[in-house]
Amino acid sequence: MDQFLQHCLNALMLGGIYALLGIGLTLIFGIMRVVNFTHGELYAFGAYMMYALVMRLGIDFFLALAFAAILGVVLGAAIEFVLLRQLRSSDIDVTMLIMIGAWIALQNAEQLAWTGVAQSIASPFPADPITLGGLSVSWNRVFVFAVAILLIAATYFLVNHTKLGMAMRATFQDREAAALMGVRIERIHTTTFALGSGLAAAAGALLGPVFVVTPTMGDLAAAKAFAVVILGGMGNLVGATLGGFILAFAEEIGVGYISSGYRDAMGFLLIILILLVRPTGLFARKERIS
């Protein structure tokens, strides 16, 4: 029983990050109709910025976290401005090819800049885990979970209760109508992409100190983010949040009771399964698939 509870606790901690990765991606897909293959690279970028700021420049851990997320926003805005802005009226396949090109270029730029050697980031948290009965969890994971939940809540607030969020939702529902109502679509697109990228970078900056930082770390993160988004239905914010936790539980249970080697296969299997059985995602109310 303790073992099961421990798995659940681990899944909860992991789910926060998956959800954080997922909502950024789902916002970008929902509003811009862009399958963002650079999402994982933004995640890796955030982790590397964290490494550079903390380990190379000696900046305070928490300050560095904020900086890393902001730099992610800047990089996201730059990608949007340079590449996606030219592709507004393009076919989704064309955009995907461009984003794959950007992904390859970014990943290898990271490899070039930081070499392929795995780097670790010192964290200011005590090494001893918190123990409660038979369960234990490290301070660092709790912090990561708390910040992830905070960021998710902030995103919800932004989308549901601000003027900008209203404009985003309007764009999501009907781009042309929103434009006619005076929503500045271009600005909404840039903001959305920058916001999603910032969330991905924040996730990377949070998890960098938990694991090690490598140039290819983004690939797996992107794969999980895609699984989460598909679980929840593309463009569905609540769905992505729940999807993050579902994926984390599926993985933890899979690791605990089947085999640890297939942990990463779980997300892909869920993707295939969901798309076959319920392609609009688990929580969709209306058809979004074209």
Binding site: I98, A105, F268, I271
Partner: protein
């Protein structure tokens, strides 16, 4: 002239081993040829049916693994006591089997994945390739996992005492790759000019319209996937018995990206496109390496080239050259044929 062009090109390619004696160059040509076959097969899906299949490397890898395993023989335990063993088979049979196995997987994936389209299909195809890769990593009993399958036997035809054709040497293998590439080209050409090919192009151009005139869309998509997968499997089998070691890295997404770049740059939906793209991006890495450029920079360049090609030459090199050629031949510059809409004399 047009009738003799293919013969001339193949003759030119076939002459390579006669004057290029350096094993290094032949090695590059062989790997380029193998990847070109894979690119041609991807083009059938990407170019002619318009489906962006990004799990293509799975078929390449399945072909390689199936062929390697059958030629080496293997034993797996279904349960504790029940074991399933296969004795080593001749290499040519293993290669045929690898091709069929990939085709069968193509059938399964096609049946499953074509329930969705667009971005969803892309993600299903990527997921499929990743699941296959993780199986190759984790099913150590069958695939040796990251330890790789070693000492894969080379292809030999005939019997040692009568007439033996060994494909251990590079010139012989080059001719084998060239022959299979030509066969694939001919099959694709015949296919796209057939009834089935026209149906595929119709559904690429406008799927609802194609359905409305009675084209069984899923049937043709699955057909294209099976043929495409089998060809990629053949390329994989060729690869396995050439490098004679296969590990799970063969399933890495980056190889799919290479194939996509080859097809898109050369010109998707054209017969010559993947060949032109395949040759460019098969030779380019070696050229860059000879110039002392780091592999990371090379990959950055590939990513940038992909972006630039999609922006500047969305149709690819072959259609762009074709247009230029035709324009120069048929029309004097700046005079375009005018089209009059409606009946009666032009106003």
């Amino acid at each position: 002239m047009t009738r003799w062009k293919p013969v001339l090109i193949i003759g030119f390619l076939a002459s390579f081993p006669l004057w290029l004696t350096s094993p290094y160059f032949l090695h590059i040509l062989i790997t380029t040829g193998i990847f070109t076959i894979a690119a041609m097969s991807l083009n059938l899906l990407l170019g002619f049916t318009g489906q962006l299949s990004l799990g293509h490397v799975a078929f390449f890898g399945i072909g390689a693994y199936a062929s390697a395993l059958l030629s080496l023989g293997f034993e797996v335990h279904v349960t504790e006591d029940v074991a399933l063993g296969v004795a080593p088979k001749p290499v040519w049979l293993a290669m045929v089997f690898g091709t069929l196995a990939a085709g069968l997987c193509g059938f399964a994936l096609g049946k499953i994945a074509f329930k969705v389209r667009g971005a969803y299909f892309v993600i299903v195809s990527i997921s499929f390739a990743e699941v296959v890769r993780l199986v190759a990593v984790n099913w150590v009993e069958l695939t040796q996992g990251p330890m790789a399958l070693n000492n894969i036997p080379p292809l030999k035809l005939g019997t040692p005492d009568l007439l033996e054709l060994s494909f251990l040497r590079k010139p012989a293998y080059f001719y084998l790759v060239l022959a299979i590439a030509t066969a694939c080209y001919v099959i694709i050409r015949r296919l796209v000019n057939s009834h089935a090919g026209r149906a595929m192009i119709a559904l690429r151009e406008n799927e609802p319209l194609a359905m409305s005139v009675g084209i069984d869309v899923t049937h043709y998509l699955v057909l294209a996937t099976v043929i495409s997968a089998a060809m990629a499997g053949a390329a994989g089998a060729l690869y396995a018995h050439y490098v004679r070691i296969v590990d799970p890295d063969i399933f890495l997404f980056i190889y799919t990206v290479i194939m996509v770049i080859m097809v898109v740059t050369g010109g998707k939906g054209t017969l010559a496109g993947p060949i032109v793209g395949g040759i460019i991006f098969g030779l380019l890495p070696e050229l860059l390496r000879a110039l002392g450029i780091k592999p990371e920079l090379q990959w950055i360049a590939f990513g940038v080239v992909m972006i630039l090609v999609v922006f500047l030459l969305p149709q690819g090199i072959v259609p762009a050259l074709d247009d230029r050629w035709k324009n120069r031949k048929r029309h004097p510059p700046h005079v375009k044929p005018s089209i009059h809409v409606g009946s009666g004399a032009p106003r």
